[in-house]
Symmetry: C2
């Protein structure tokens, strides 16, 4: 476990809820794959790295377990989730369902400001796409997910927003695991097209575009490696 942040980030910024801070750091590390699936997250080790007690670490791990990002077994410990192809399918099926609802709700509520901030975000995505290096790739994955989360925000339903948060995080993990080209599939201006359709208040079209978008992401996955993964799971989990 070669995490190199210690307490550089806002971990000790406000001394509020350190468990949440640790969770956020771990989640980022998992989502952009600095922590490989299957990695054991030892309470003592994590605690040492973040300079907090095991009590705090346990809180953070419990939260991550709820989000499905780690998998913890009693008396065994917590491990970074290693989603099976079947789980991957379920995640994307769920996304199709929920993003449909997000589009429908957002279409009725979005303001000019919303479109402006989405377009601002698009520029950022574009910039990252042209950058090179693994760091840019990681940020690109995160930015791509953030687009969907911004839409969920604009839908104005806190529950759907929470569900999306979980689904996006787990999607990133799946893409990291099974992605062929990384995220180039997310590449072309599909996000922009969705925004345009929404601005035209064409819900049908926005929906169709979103479904295509998700289908593209899923098509970039190589879910055949089922056996390989079951094996890995059997061996190290």
């Amino acid at each position: 476990m070669n995490i190199a942040f210690e307490k550089q980030t806002g971990l000790d910024a406000h001394q509020e809820d350190r468990a949440r801070a640790v969770r956020d750091e771990l989640r980022d590390a998992i989502v952009d794959r600095r922590l490989a699936p299957g990695t054991k997250l030892s309470e003592a080790e994590v605690g040492t790295l973040f300079d907090v007690s095991r009590t705090v670490v346990r809180g953070a791990l419990q939260m991550l377990a709820f989000e499905g990002l780690i998998h913890s077994e009693r008396n065994k410990g917590a491990f970074v989730a290693n989603p099976s192809p079947e789980e991957a399918r379920q995640i994307f099926d769920s996304r199709r369902l929920i993003e449909r609802g997000v589009i429908a709700a957002a279409a009725e509520r979005m303001t000019a400001d919303d479109f402006a901030s989405l377009r601002q975000h698009l520029k950022e995505e574009e910039r990252l796409r042209n950058d090179r290096g693994t760091r840019a790739r990681r940020e690109e994955i995160k930015a791509s997910g953030d687009f969907h989360l911004m839409l969920a925000d604009m839908a104005g339903n806190a529950i759907l927003r929470k569900f999306m948060n979980e689904l996006i995080a787990r999607s990133s993990l799946v893409i990291a695991l099974y992605g062929r080209t990384g995220i180039s599939s997310c590449g072309r201006d599909e996000h922009a097209d969705i925004i345009n359709a929404l601005e035209a208040r064409d819900v049908e079209k926005a929906n169709a575009l979103m479904m295509h978008h998700i289908a593209h992401i899923e098509a970039d996955l190589d879910l055949r490696s089922a056996e390989t993964l079951s094996l890995r799971e059997a061996l190290q989990l």
Copy 2:
């Protein structure tokens, strides 16, 4: 807090994961309103009642907070959730969305056994509906929710199932808070109609029936009392 179960139930059955056992007891108590919304759940008090340490209680409370059944504030404590009318709307909007997906997935996977166990469950609901007393009412609410959870099981998507679990629990809370007649709306054989449509593999009809069903439940609520509740919230929260 007049909970009267102590350790009568399967709490100490297996000595595994007592936090989960406490969570389940508390969830039941919240969902069928033995614990009123807004009630403070003191760690020490809960611990004494269940004869476990605060550590275990904290674990249980954290889980309930994730499910949206309690609301905990730092250095203040945990309180049984007191959903606002707006939250109630969001919960039912989310249910409409997700149950649509459940119906679609279940329709393609359900077996004869599934229909049999659903019909078995219907009989149980029917029996409870004819019983009198608050205990029967509570069990009726739970059974009514279980119907939806059984369908979610049959959809074969663990993620949707988890979402439904949360939504059903929160719905029960909302119904308890805002329900006019209790659950008579859920009464007529709407569940049975849905099963019949599913068995005929008529997804469209099943969906329409489910949407009507949810609309009926929602129509039985009195969400006007917005001010009253904000006040209550302001006073006791």
